[in-house]
Symmetry: C2
Subunit: 388 residues, 2 copies
């Protein structure tokens, strides 16, 4: 059925998400009446703040829902600029902020603006799979550097220098990381930014989980340099995945190109979502974020402790996001098969490591703590029963 | 400021929209109290149907606004499938329909799936500028074939055959067209589809204005062949530009690749917008579309007659959409300068032809009839005064 002759070569490089198969099996089991505990999603279970829902409703009430400016409504760009001022004491002017259709839109814009065919991009393995696929989309070559617990599953200056070639154009980092939840500490991030700058390369930092860190203050690479693209999103911080709203902080040298690309690639981000996002920058919403952060920290502690007691290896306690990337090799040889057993025998849905790379990927499982502590305890009991 | 060394080569090929400069001047004039008649937008002035607004509100009421399936919520894909059945008597199964983030998302998906670097794509000049920019995005080479009034500003089999080279992979048509509003008649469209199929090429037909045709029944290329990508949108038919919702009908041979690309490129279209779109497929909404179509036809007649009487050449009466692409060369040498005069002296905002290509582009102006017939008459009077 597939006509390879008419498909672009890049399509062979884009993998499906394995988690979708697991999710479909889980939906089928749930539909048949089985109790499923969902630990596989990349989205919070808290939902969108009522203030944001009300703002979207108000913005669309008269039916006049039209294209906005390509880089976003001015008030929202100003609000994001003010966020950087209040949160980090930084001057990030609104003109450097592009409102995008989710973080996906931000990544797509930044890579379209900078990646020529054949350019290499340094990434972590494990890492968010869409990152390497976006690189393929524009003809670039992802160089997925294996990282492990010794380095908190992140790159460092030595690794960046060691893997930087004549063709390397970009370093793409995520802090905290999906799937590991680990961060790059600010000093190391600054040092890597300097290594990239010295090579006249491009730095992209994915900070979409930047507000969801535990036991430490949020940080941004922008405190060290203006010469970076920063990808951010309303999805994780504000429980707004379905609204598809993110932003990109753009270095001055790319501002004009980013605006032209935005005009042509997506015209504008969804207008009701932009109205919703604008309503997030008020104290009552931040109070909800603070409560969610405390709740997520407690869940993390339940899950890490419980998984370790069951024999999983969790060598680095995740600093943020809502993921535990657990090494299941002490218990099971094949993570995909084990994920299936956990689902079918235990009613616990989680994500196989193979979605995040090839570096010992099938020895790992990602557990999302997007369920209550009580559900997490129940999930741990079910996993214990499956292990036997 | 711009750092060409770090920008991808494609960024030099992506032009800004000139209309944005005109729009900014028009906003400034309006803000200073000038009366402006807006004939430049690519979006209807009717607004979103109340049914759709209510459905979005309901879908987001509890704050649970999460990612949907990458190809769209099943009910919406089914509703679009049913639309093809009821409207055209066609069997287009839901599995062949991908819900996208606007028609922009649909175009991006279809080209990402099929265009390798160096592949040539046949397009019309004049035409929708984003089309050629999407081709550049993926390293393809747009071949913009000059078309004029002799051919209703559309391609035909002779032109397709004449311009098809060893590197040509795709024909991209829009019917009705932006900026000309002219259609490809079904027999000619079928013949061109056959020419492309005989060359094992890819056909994309942009049908986003397909419901907005006057004095004739809507048609689709799918009545002739399943071997085409069809781009469609809720934006123009239902006044939903700001919601960013479209769809792509996918030929069977590309279904798997499109799903993988959608998962990675945008995860899912906005969930509230999908709920809004689902509410559009009901009789009360179609009654509104029918009324809008009648209103647009009347406006077209006012505008075409008026422009002709002022000395503009409108050699082909547009069949649909809400644009008149008028040749101003009998009146003015430089369309950009003339557009500026119409704005500053007459308070009439319209779009210079240079946004749509290079083929006698600066002899043309696009007028959008997105204002009432009364406003159109006033605009014509103002233009008459400017011409003197």
């Amino acid at each position: 059925m597939t006509d390879q002759r008419r498909l672009a070569a890049r399509t062979a490089l884009i993998d499906p998400f394995r988690v979708m198969e697991i999710a479909e099996e889980a939906w089928a089991l749930a539909a048949s009446g089985r109790s499923i505990i969902w630990l596989l999603a990349g989205e919070p279970d808290f939902g969108t703040p009522p203030e944001a829902v009300a703002a979207a409703r108000e913005a669309s009430a008269g039916g006049r829902v039209q294209y906005t400016q390509s880089l976003g409504i001015p008030a929202l760009r100003e609000a994001i600029s003010t966020y950087y001022g209040k949160r980090f004491g930084l001057d990030v002017p609104a003109r450097r902020i592009a409102v995008t259709t989710g973080a996906s839109g931000a990544l797509s814009l930044a890579l379209a603006a900078t990646i020529d065919p054949g350019a290499q991009v340094l990434l972590t393995d494990p890492g968010y799979p869409c990152n390497r696929h976006f690189v393929h989309l524009y003809g670039g070559e992802p160089v997925c550097v294996p990282v492990g617990p010794d380095n908190a599953y992140q790159l460092d200056t030595a690794l960046v220098k060691a893997h930087w070639s004549d063709r390397t154009r970009m370093l793409l980092l995520a802090t905290p990381s999906n799937p590991t939840g680990t961060i790059v500490v600010p000093d190391e991030l600054a040092a890597m930014a300097d290594v990239v700058a010295a090579r006249h390369g491009v730095l992209i930092v994915d900070e979409i989980y930047g507000e969801l860190v535990y036991g430490r203050a949020p940080t941004t690479v922008l405190s060290h340099t203006d010469d970076a693209f920063v990808v951010n999103s309303f999805s994780k911080t504000f429980g707004m995945t379905g609204w598809r709203l993110g932003w990109l902080v753009v270095p001055a040298w790319a501002g004009d190109a980013i605006e032209r690309l935005a005009q042509n690639l997506y015209i504008a981000a969804p207008a009701p979502s932009q109205a919703a996002g604008l309503a997030c920058f008020q104290p009552s919403v931040w109070a909800q974020v603070d409560a969610h952060r405390r709740e997520l920290e407690a869940r993390r502690d339940v899950l890490v402790k419980g998984l370790r007691s069951l024999g999983f290896a969790v060598p680095v306690v995740p600093d943020g996001a809502f993921y535990v990337y657990a090494d299941c090799s002490p218990i099971a040889d094949d993570a995909v098969a084990f994920v299936r057993r956990l689902l079918h025998e235990g009613g616990v849905a989680c994500t196989p490591g193979l979605d995040f790379g090839t570096n010992r990927a099938n020895a790992h499982i990602r557990f999302s703590y997007t369920a209550s502590s009580a559900q997490l305890s129940e999930a741990l009991a079910r996993i214990a029963a499956v292990i036997g």
